[in-house]
Homo-oligomer: 161 residues x 2
Amino acid sequence: MAQLSDSIERFIKELMSEEAQIEVRRNELAQHFGCAPSQINYVLATRFSVEHGYIIESRRGGGGFVRIVRMRPHGGNANLLNTLLERVGTSIREDTAAAIIEHLSDLHLVTPGEASIMRAAVGRNALALPINAKDVLRAAVLRNMLTQVFRNLEEGKRNDV
Amino acid sequence: MAQLSDSIERFIKELMSEEAQIEVRRNELAQHFGCAPSQINYVLATRFSVEHGYIIESRRGGGGFVRIVRMRPHGGNANLLNTLLERVGTSIREDTAAAIIEHLSDLHLVTPGEASIMRAAVGRNALALPINAKDVLRAAVLRNMLTQVFRNLEEGKRNDV
DNA sequence: ATAATATAGTCAGTGATGGTCAAACTTTGG
DNA sequence: CCAAAGTTTGACCATCACTGACTATATTAT
């Protein structure tokens, strides 16, 4: 029923029909649709999430922006990222995290150097907290890195294989 | 967009592409960009900090100047690692962490891909905690990654330029 | 020496963005 | 009609850029 969110979604998809990546000003967009700025965040969160194949980046302050990047499916690993994120969930133990990183390495989606850095980031030493909190935090850090790894593939920042 | 600060940064980096050290007059530079002189200090503080690998020297009064010096790593990697670890300490803000990572990238001690993963690991999204705790945790994660980066160098796991 | 002049530094304040979260509201499915 | 799910908003927060008033220091003229 022509929900606001749907309109905004269509509008953004229209903008992205040519470019795989666009930048918008959150406030401008909100004004264009006569809605609260946070509405934009809602649309991004529900329609342009990683699960939907998009990555959102942004910057605050003067000259700030919101960048929306459409990921293309890579060689059969189209939704590998989703699978991995799901596996990570909101809490993960160190050995499981290590296994996931190992897997990425096996697939040559990360270099040995990158893998070792990722392991370091979620290692025991890095997370000086009570065990429970530690697992939760580890999951958050790992999810962020995973998303970045796939983002790098988009950018050709890949330096692997 | 095309933030003033970014332009000034580019301008300075351009000047430094040949020389490892330049001198400018703060007022002249400000006038060249049509901004307040203190804007120059802002750019120097946010883009040419020690974390970024630069040292700023200056002199006031007649014939005054601002000298920007690109630091050269000395004493080998072990020394640099210690310096960085010390700088990170037990608590660090995101922008400072980003500066350190960028510095490593400038020195080609990490690849662009590795740098982006490191940024992701210490980004605000990754650390869902109250700000104070966030900084403490960020420091721990960053220290661990830094140590790993230098270990990689030892082991020739380096896959960069 | 002292005063005038020429620089540069600091810092708090303002404005421009975007983010988060919970509460209020709306739509949908039974 | 009601409860669950989805949508929308607003208040408050975080970050970044930029400026101006005030301060500090160096050189030069008297």
